[in-house]
């Protein structure tokens, strides 16, 4: 239970994000720094916090730009904040901004800080493309060579194949397996059908569309002004398809195993650009300054499994751990947000939480619990909304906290699977 000796508790005061848009669309020419600053700046305004109160900025990015590797500092250098706010950037893959939130919360619990901005950003439109190792070496050697002749001679060592650029792949460095291949493997080993995956994807889109329509998702979003006159305003996520159907999803070809596969572009989360930020404060400070916190952090837990096994099964350990730390049972959760990297992964996680056989296999005392879809991913999930890697954690916390307030739910949980076989869970409480 996250309750320090000082008896402090961490309040989630507000959460704001940019629209989540498919990579290569609206934010094609926008840097990750600009996205992160946009979300954080709007957070300052919407939370009505006195920006002089901010003690630190913790941000996260999974694929950072070589030119601004510490995006957090660019956020804390917003002119609305004093220049004296320190900042650092972390990476825990897809759980990055959830981890940023916990790092911030830990500082508050320790009494080192009273108010911290935490968040994450990803721009897959703004990817670093690398030169080949050999070409880089030649360039370095040429810069050290003597005279023009020496330089030309050194550069002469370049061969055409050295010029092929290296693009970062979403693959496990330890196994070489891509994320999609892992999801495909999990679908097969756990017997997850194509139909079940498409069903989940359909529900994700329908719920996200409804939550956009009624303003629940829109309320989290800082509008983005674009176009030559800046009069085109993006207020929603552009990956949500309100009109999709099982038939349409069924028509898509599997991507990672064309013959026997079930994982398609339709039942996976898309490559997405976006940023999300959350304002955390010590409970007493938040109340003293007249804020009405959305929720409080009750516990969190992280886990990891062998990436060569089922890569995205980390949450099956993280969730029971977080519940144990929260001194709660699954049945007491009024709302659950499960990150949807792939429908196959969500359904594998759900399967594992729900059976004694899995509990035995995982070495747990008993099943964690059965997922009630009426209380889970009620505003859709990453498949529809999108998944800018490091922004997703803060998005889930924001969505969950808002929904907990709306429904007046006392306990809620988020679950995230992450690269490297990691799993992440956080429990929020309302009062």
């Amino acid at each position: 239970m996250l309750d320090s000796r000082r008896g402090r508790r961490v309040a989630i005061v507000a959460g704001v994000r940019t629209p989540f848009v498919k990579s290569g669309t609206v934010f094609r020419d926008v840097s990750a720094v600009a996205l992160a600053r946009h979300a954080a700046r709007e957070l300052l305004y919407r939370s009505e916090v006195d920006s002089r109160e901010i003690d630190e900025v913790v941000f996260s990015q999974v694929v950072p730009s070589v030119l601004s590797p510490n995006v957090a500092r660019e956020v804390s250098l917003l002119p609305q904040l004093p220049p004296s706010v320190p900042a650092y950037t972390i990476n825990r893959a897809c759980a990055s901004s959830a981890q940023a939130i916990n790092n911030a919360a830990d500082q508050i619990l320790l009494g080192h800080a009273d108010a911290v901005i935490a968040g994450g950003v990803e721009s897959l439109s703004d990817l670093p493309i690398l030169h080949s190792r050999r070409f880089s070496q030649v360039l370095v050697d040429a810069s050290k060579a003597r005279g023009v002749g020496g330089r030309v001679a050194t550069l002469g060592r370049v061969r055409p194949r050295d010029l092929i650029p290296v693009t970062p792949a979403i693959a496990e460095p330890s196994t070489g397996e891509t994320m999609g291949q892992s999801a495909e493997k999990m679908a097969k080993e756990n017997g997850i059908t194509r139909e079940a995956q498409d069903q989940l994807a359909l529900r994700s889109h329908q719920r996200a569309a409804a939550a956009t329509e009624d303003g629940r998702l829109t309320a989290e979003i800082a509008p983005w002004f674009t176009g030559p006159e800046m009069d085109q305003v993006i207020t929603g996520d552009n990956g949500i398809r309100p009109d999709t159907s099982l038939e349409a999803l069924a028509k898509l070809k599997p991507v990672f195993d064309r013959r026997y596969g079930t994982v398609t572009a339709g039942n996976s989360s898309p490559l997405t650009d976006g940023a999300a930020a959350v304002l955390l404060m010590a409970e007493e400070q938040a109340k003293a300054q007249g804020h009405e916190p959305l929720a409080y952090i009750r516990s969190y837990a992280v886990s990891a499994v062998d990436p060569a096994w089922q890569l995205l099964m980390g949450p099956v350990y993280a969730v029971p751990k977080a519940l144990e730390r929260a001194e709660l049972t699954w049945a007491e959760l009024g709302l659950v947000e499960i990150h949807e990297a792939f429908a196959a992964q969500v359904l594998s996680n759900v399967q594992a939480w729900g059976s004694q056989a899995w509990a035995d296999r995982l070495g747990l005392a008993g099943p964690v619990g059965d997922v009630d879809w009426d209380r889970t991913n009620v505003a859709g999930g990453s498949i529809a909304i999108g998944h800018p890697f490091a922004a997703t954690g803060a998005r889930l916390v924001t969505t969950l906290a808002h929904e907990m307030r709306r429904r007046d739910v006392q306990f809620g949980l988020i679950s995230i699977c992450a690269q490297g076989g990691m799993g992440y869970a956080m429990v929020l409480e309302r009062k």
């Binding site: 600053r37 700046r41 709007e42 300052l44 305004y45 919407r46 009505e48 006195d50 917003l78 002119p79 609305q80 509008p223 002004f225 674009t226 176009g227 006159e229 800046m230 009069d231 085109q232 305003v233 207020t235």
Partner: protein
């Protein structure tokens, strides 16, 4: 007085200029005497090999001549003598056998730059406050201490004329490029690099300077025939720009020309002759008066000193992101670096407003007045939304929504529900009385008017309008903030039209009457630009917008009755959906946003034929006297606090010709008696609207004037 302190190290005398009891260094007769004595001492001191001249003031090298000193001069002869003596002192700097290095940090202007030009080497700091220029023409004068001679010799005729004729300041980087300074260094090493330069010069002699400007420079700056072309082009441009009303730039051009073509002695003679003539002339006197008036206004908070405390503005909220709102936002961010939040009901309008506000910054970036990082920082201060998020922490909220009483009251009510109780609400209205807007306010003591002029980033005036309920703290906060935005601020009474639109209204209405009589549009506008206004009344109506003009006209009619009854012109134009420049259809044609000649189809629309024979004098008289009479009336009602505020308001708000000193100054110059006489004539011919203001009759009777003589 000891303005100069000398410290000798290794044979180099470092002379620190630090005028006692003054915030900046200025040149006066006393300083000059001391400087001459100092030069003699340094000359005689065998231990001194070289000299560094540096300032002891934080942000100025030498700000220029002591203006108060030469305004006290009684005659042309005295002024000429002052210039001559200045030339002599500066020449002694130049002829010193020991090298003198000017170490320049901060303002190096006018006489200050003339001294620096006579030094043998100039080092400037890269500090943003380091500015070099010869602004004399802005006071109706010319550089009179050799500046017209040494600057063209140093940087070439073209670059020198560009600086002298406009009076503009150059930053260190440009000065280096022009060859105006020899080195640019960080402030931290100014003194040591100047000492090193003096030492080097003493040992190795004066440096050979590269001539700038390449082949074009060779032809245009360094051949008599080329220079003739330069003079001719400059003269033509000057006449176009000044309309022949301002003699100083023309005289400066002549002083430069004589110096370059006939030698420096002839040039210096022409320079001090012209200086004397200009200093004793009327235009310079007016421009100096305006300079003093604006300087005094910079220290005037609009309330009795010591009775009010200004609030610090950390966040500015702006409601209404149209042209005005965006202009206020961009100008505030640029000049005050304040966190600015724009609110409009429609997000797409917010986006447009942000774009327009950012464009003000972008323009500075493009002209390299801002660095990329400054631009990034400033533009991040601008944000907007469709709701009031962020307003609870606003210290000042300026409303610039549609000019409609109920809308403005509604916004005020919404704001009062959002902001903290200390926050100030300012309404940007041009015609609606502030007390009507604040009638239902919970805190009328924190409500006032801030009337900006369009385009905000360029128009220099701001009218601050307190109501009877407005607290002094609120007034002083608004005045200070407006000033930090770069505006000249006058505090005016909450009467319809305030000051500027009050006196503008009968003038524009008279233009309507003239149009209805068939006075050709271009003739009317030309008459008024020849009088000295930057634009004529008809072109101004197009700029302001005919709908806005009509609305203001009816407000004024309602407030002041028959005298302000609108001519039917504007309603006829509006009936044909002519709104002026904004919809490209007004009295003039507009092509791609540019004025392109009078739209002659307007005449039949107004039911008139353009008249063939028109007395331009009469046209001018009717327009100008309509304004003068209203100015007298409004002044006697206490709309402005002083003749100074009245005239500055008219000059900066309407473009009233500066060389005429403003409407009240003009009445003084014409004589109230004569003004009354003319008004009677006009009244007889054109009706009651020209009935002279009672205050003018009183003044004429008692031979009183607005200003003491």
């Amino acid at each position: 007085m000891t303005a100069f302190a000398t410290h000798i190290e290794n044979g180099i005398a470092v002379v620190t200029f630090d005028l006692p009891g003054e915030p900046v260094n200025k040149l006066s007769a006393a300083v000059r005497t001391e400087m001459e004595a100092l030069l003699t001492r340094l000359h005689d001191d065998a231990a001194v090999r070289g000299v560094v001249l540096i300032s002891g003031k934080p942000d100025t090298f030498i700000a220029g001549a002591d203006i108060e000193e030469f305004t006290a001069l009684s005659s042309q002869d005295a002024a000429e003598r002052l210039s001559f003596q200045g030339q002599e002192t500066v020449s002694r700097v130049e002829t010193s056998h020991k090298p003198i290095v000017a170490a320049i940090n901060g303002a190096c202007l006018g006489g200050g730059l003339e001294v620096a030009l006579a030094c043998h080497y100039r080092i400037a700091t890269d500090h943003p406050k380091t500015l070099l220029g010869l602004p004399e023409v802005q006071l109706g004068l010319i550089p009179g201490a050799g500046g017209c001679q040494r600057l063209p010799r140093l940087i070439g005729a073209r670059a020198a004329l560009d600086m002298i004729l406009t009076g503009k300041n150059e930053r260190a980087s440009t000065a280096l490029r022009l060859g105006l300074v020899d080195e640019v260094v960080p402030q931290s090493i100014l003194r040591q690099s100047a000492v090193a330069a003096a030492d080097r010069l003493a040992r190795e002699g004066l440096p050979q300077r590269d001539r700038k400007g390449g082949l074009t420079g060779l032809v245009l700056d360094r051949t008599p025939a080329g220079r003739q072309l330069v003079y001719r082009a400059a003269r033509k441009q000057l006449l176009k720009k000044t309309g022949g009303h301002y003699p100083a730039p023309v005289a400066a051009l002549e002083a430069v020309r004589v110096g370059l073509e006939q030698g420096i002695t002839a040039g210096l003679a022409e320079e001090h002759r012209a200086f004397g003539e200009l200093a004793a002339g009327d235009v310079s006197r007016k421009l100096v008066q305006i300079f003093f008036a604006t300087t005094a206004l910079k220290k005037d908070d609009g309330v009795k000193p010591g009775t009010a405390v200004p609030r610090q503005i950390r966040r500015l909220g702006i409601v209404g992101s149209g042209f005005m709102g965006a202009g206020i936002a961009g100008t505030a961010v640029l000049n005050v670096e304040v966190d600015t939040r724009l609110k409009d009901s429609d997000l797409s309008r917010v986006g447009k407003g942000l774009k327009a506000a950012t464009a003000i910054l972008k323009e500075r970036l493009d002209r390299r007045r801002l660095t990329r990082s400054q631009y990034d920082r400033l533009s991040a201060l601008l944000s907007g939304s469709a709701g009031y998020a962020g307003f609870s922490r606003a210290d000042l909220v300026i409303e610039a929504v549609f000019e409609e009483l109920e809308t403005k009251r509604q916004v005020l009510a919404e704001i009062e529900a959002q902001v903290r109780p200390e926050a100030i609400f300012a309404t940007n209205t041009s015609t609606i009385p502030i007390h009507q807007i604040s009638a239902r306010a919970r805190h009328p003591e924190r409500v006032l008017g801030m009337h900006f002029f369009s385009p905000v980033e360029r128009m220099p005036l701001l009218e601050v309008i307190p109501t009877e309920a407005t607290s002094p703290d609120t007034i002083v906060t608004a005045v200070r903030f407006g000033r930090r935005m770069g505006k000249t601020v006058i505090v005016v009474a909450d009467r319809p039209g305030f000051w500027v639109n009050r006196i503008l209204s009968p003038y524009l209405n008279e233009a309507g009457h003239l149009l209805q009589e068939g006075v050709p549009i271009e003739l009317m506008d030309r008459t008024i630009t020849e009088f000295g206004f930057p634009v004529g009344p008809v072109a101004l109506l197009d700029e302001v917008g005919l709908d806005v003009g009509q609305k203001a006209g009816s407000v004024m009619h309602e407030a002041f009755g028959e005298r302000m009854k609108p001519a039917p012109t504007l309603s006829r134009m509006l009936g044909a959906t002519r709104l002026g420049r904004k919809n490209g259809r007004g009295f003039y044609h507009y092509k791609e946003g540019h004025k392109a000649g009078v739209d002659r189809s307007v005449y039949p629309l107004l039911g008139v034929h353009p008249a063939d024979e028109v007395h331009e004098d009469l046209v001018e008289r009717r327009l100008v006297y309509a304004m003068l009479n209203e100015a007298a009336m409004a002044f006697s009602e206490g709309v402005v606090r002083s003749p100074r505020d009245a005239d500055i308001g008219a000059i900066f708000g309407i473009g009233f010709p500066a060389f005429r000193g403003g409407p009240l100054r003009l009445i003084d110059d014409l004589g109230p008696g004569r003004v009354v006489e003319t008004l009677y004539q006009l009244q007889e011919q054109f009706g009651e609207r020209f009935r002279p203001a009672p205050s003018l009759l009183d003044m004429a009777r008692a031979s009183r004037r607005y200003y003491p003589t």
